[in-house]
């Protein structure tokens, strides 16, 4: 495992290590979804909602449990009579789906479809709050403001974020190439040049990525 003065790990070992971690992580997701979907089936009202929320938070691609939880929540949300509960329900669904975002957003269509409901419920709640002294005449302007908030994207661009993280790995790797391959005895000019150019390219990309992400 150690050779030539540096730690040497074969590609196979690295692959097996990260593969194993990914598998265990997947097992954790699967197990958690299983216990919380079972909990959802025997719960009522807001407790049922919270169990569904937990199922979504452990989402994995193509999970039947996530689908069941999202559909279950959509049904439950409509069952609530109080606007405050309805708002809590839709906010919970939206939030839990946003939290499972990776390089893509699962169930984007559901998030889009409930935005208007959330904006409507928030507006109604504001009007119903006696101390605000608002009336239905204010509905449109309040609704628009809430829609603006709901449509605002606060996360950095996925594309530029990927550029940032991989260009950072890129320039760090190239510095190591310069050191390990280029600065041996005697100096290997080919690797020195290759590493330096790689460093410059990835470093520039990293800086641009940080500005544009």
């Amino acid at each position: 495992m150690t050779t030539g003065g540096v730690i040497y790990l074969s590609k196979k070992a690295v692959f097996v290590f990260f593969g194993l971690l990914f598998l265990i992580f997947f097992m954790r997701m699967f197990y958690a979804q299983y216990i919380y979907i079972e909990e959802a089936l025997v719960s009522e009202n807001l407790e049922k909602l919270k169990a569904y929320e937990k199922v979504i938070l452990f989402h994995f691609p193509l999970s039947p449990y996530t689908k069941k939880a999202v559909n279950g929540m959509l049904i439950e949300c409509e069952k609530f009579n109080e606007e405050r509960e309805k708002l809590y329900c839709y906010e919970t669904l939206r939030s839990s789906l946003i939290q499972i975002k990776s390089f893509y957003q699962p169930y984007k269509n559901v998030i889009e479809s409930i935005k208007t409901k959330i904006a409507h419920l928030r507006t109604i709640e504001m009007i119903n709050w006696k101390e605000n002294r608002l009336t239905m005449k204010d509905y449109q302007s309040l609704y628009q403001q809430h829609m603006k908030l709901l449509e605002y994207e606060n996360a950095p661009s996925v594309f530029w974020s990927i550029i940032v993280v991989f260009s950072l790995i890129g320039w760090i790797t190239n510095v190591f190439i310069v050191i390990i391959k280029g600065l041996g005895t005697p100096v290997d000019k080919k690797f020195l040049l290759l590493g330096f150019c790689g460093f410059m390219i990835f470093f520039t990309l990293w800086i641009i990525g940080l500005y544009l992400a």
């Binding site: 730690i7 265990i24 992580f25 938070l57 499972i100 990776s102 893509y104 709050w129 800086i207 940080l210």
Partner: protein
């Protein structure tokens, strides 16, 4: 590696991953996830390397953003164990002794605890051990590439945790063994250090771009260096902390006592004998001994003098300092322990006790493994939903488009996570102050402010009174005499938060209003998570104890038809050194007795005496 090593690493991987909190843990976790997710700037020194590494993990297509970022420290813990294995194996050429070191560290309380938290300490420990490994290689023969690689890694560590910089000293000492070559290559080493240091440009660029910043911007040269040197923390800044080790010898005794306690809690004090033998074993290999003894001194006694020399072993001393900063020390300790056992076993085998080298390490491994289920049950965060629901419940009970102000890590970071990453109730404007007695609010949880201004025009025009009169100003902060609002504002407890009302404007109707609102909001609270989280994390207890106030408030909101007894609550809520009064009159009857029972259950379950490191 032998088969049993593969099994051990797989076992640790399973236990560690299943120990992670479902979304995020207490402490800095919420803030660190937000800075990773937004590619922002965490609390000083900003931790840019952590943020980017966390961002890589957030791209995994499994689970929620919180647990994905939590996987990163977990991976670094496993890599730290791998480094422990490699270093021991280098000296003993024995898988059994290497495994002994791995298991000793792997089951130690603090190491297990940190693995399940979202923190930078496991990554820091891994890099410290990597540098130690490179140092060992340097002692075997000068190779300038090892010096350059070490300098570059130290440069990168400036973007992670400052205790990593201690490794400059032992590596420099080792470098002196090759004086001529070492000094010749020192200027180029400085260049590579600076190349690594470039990772901190993240702080400057993301500050200019107005990304999330937890404490202050680093968009000017002074802002940048204030961030790196942690000047924001005043007397706890990096320079002052290091200075604390040298300006006096006071506190060394306490530091030693606390270290002794930490060793006993993590490994048992009998291990100290073997650690001394480990040093004796290395003594013959002079250069390596020098490397180990300097590193060991810096990460134990010197660091303890700077940070761990309090005379009282309270939560702050044991869980903020001892349980976190000393992970590199514990790693070094485990290595020396395994080397000491190896030395002892070989020594005794010379006296016809040939069975000892075979039996002793295996017996010690088995003994350590007994602690595995204990550690798992103590530190497991598998079911710890407390930070998540604590933040979510606080936001859930607020009226639409109101203001919530917070102070302190626990409340601020969890609400940042819920609002910025989770986008839960993003109609609310979250403001936070780093100092209890100041109202210099940061608006990271209320951005972009242009979107909030039309919905909270009174607040943004400075008319806080109007916002309060509309019953839309809430806080997790009760007011003590030292708070700037104390003279102007009355607080009304509302579940576990407080409504702010202009002084002397609270009418009887308002009293009734908040009582009814508390009762109506009860259904949004999640007390269950405070009764089954299973962890012994004191900050989880802190949150749950704070949350338990809800049930006193609920009990006081009901006037029973036939009161059985009257309970007068005259307590104080501590915000650092500030004590804010909490007064409630509760008439207990059939209608509200269940709230009192629930309050008692919450307090009993979240008893600090359950914290393993507290005496």
């Amino acid at each position: 590696m032998c088969h049993s090593s593969y099994i051990a690493f797989t076992l640790f991987s399973i236990l560690y991953i299943f120990s992670l909190a479902p979304v995020f843990s207490t402490g800095d976790a919420g803030g660190l996830i937000v800075s990773s997710y937004t590619l922002g700037v965490a609390h000083p020194p900003g931790y840019p390397f952590f943020s980017v590494l966390g961002k890589i993990f957030s791209f995994l297509p499994l689970g929620n953003i919180g647990i994905k970022v939590a996987l990163m420290p977990c991976v670094f813990s496993i890599l730290t164990l791998l480094m422990v294995y490699l270093i021991i194996h280098r000296f003993t050429k024995s898988a059994v002794y290497s495994l002994l070191g791995v298991i000793t560290l792997g089951v130690s309380y603090s190491f297990f605890f940190q693995t399940s938290m979202i923190k930078f300490y496991p990554a820091n420990s891994f890099l410290v051990l990597l540098l130690l490994f490179l140092g060992i290689k340097i002692t075997e023969g000068f190779d300038r590439r090892l010096i350059f690689a070490s300098a570059f890694i130290i440069g990168l560590m400036t973007g992670l945790h400052h205790t990593g910089l201690f490794m400059i000293i032992p590596l420099f000492v080792i470098g002196l063994l090759y004086r001529k070559e070492f000094f010749k290559n020192l200027p180029l080493s400085a260049v590579f250090f600076l190349a690594g240091f470039l990772v901190n440009l993240h702080l400057y660029i993301r500050s200019i771009e107005e990304a999330f910043t937890a404490a202050h911007r680093a968009d000017t040269l002074s802002g940048f260096f204030n961030m790196l040197l942690r000047r924001f923390y005043g007397e706890s800044s990096s320079i002052d902390t290091v200075g604390g080790a040298f300006h006096s010898f006071d506190g060394y005794l306490n530091a030693m006592r606390n270290l002794y306690y930490l060793i006993d809690a993590n490994f048992g004090i009998f291990t100290l004998v073997f650690v001394l033998m480990g040093l004796l074993f290395l003594y013959k290999k002079r250069a390596i001994f020098l490397l180990f003894i300097v590193s060991f001194f810096l990460y134990s006694i010197a660091l303890a003098k700077m940070t761990f020399s309090g005379s009282v072993r309270d939560i702050s001393t044991m869980y903020v300092v001892g349980n976190q900063y000393f992970i590199p020390f514990l790693s070094l300790y485990a290595i020396l322990f395994a080397l000491g056992v190896y030395f002892f076993a070989n020594l005794i085998s010379k006296f016809d006790f040939k069975i000892v080298p075979k039996v002793l390490p295996i017996s010690l491994i088995l003994m350590s493994l007994i602690f595995l289920p204990i550690r798992f049950s103590q530190t497991v965060q598998f079911n710890n939903w407390v930070p998540y629901y604590h933040g979510k419940d606080a936001l859930s009970i607020l009226p639409v488009s109101s203001v919530i102000s917070t102070y302190g890590d626990n409340h601020t970071f969890e609400i940042w996570y819920m609002k910025i990453v989770g986008r839960f109730r993003d109609d609310l404007c979250h403001i936070t102050s780093h100092y209890y007695n100041l109202t210099e609010w940061r608006l990271e949880g209320c951005k972009p402010t242009d979107f909030y201004k039309p919905l909270l025009s009174d607040f943004f025009s400075g008319n806080f009174n109007e916002t309060m009169l509309k019953k839309r100003f809430y806080s997790t902060v009760a007011l003590s005499k030292e708070h700037p609002f104390y003279e102007f504002v009355d607080v009304k407890p509302y579940a576990f938060i407080f409504a702010y009302i202009p002084k002397n404007k609270v009418t009887e109707d308002d009293e009734k209003f908040f009582k009814e609102l508390s009762l109506k909001s009860e259904k949004f609270l999640t007390p269950k998570v405070c009764l089954n989280h299973t962890t012994d994390d004191p900050f989880t207890f802190e949150m749950c104890n704070f949350f338990s106030i809800s049930y006193l408030v609920l009990a006081s909101s009901i006037k029973p038809a036939k009161p059985m007894e009257t309970l007068t609550v005259d307590a104080s809520i501590a915000y650092g050194r500030f004590l804010a009064p909490l007064k409630l009159d509760i008439q207990i009857g059939k209608e509200n007795a269940r709230y009192i029972e629930l309050y008692k259950s919450l307090r009993a379950y979240n008893d600090y005496r359950r914290c393993y490191l507290l005496e």
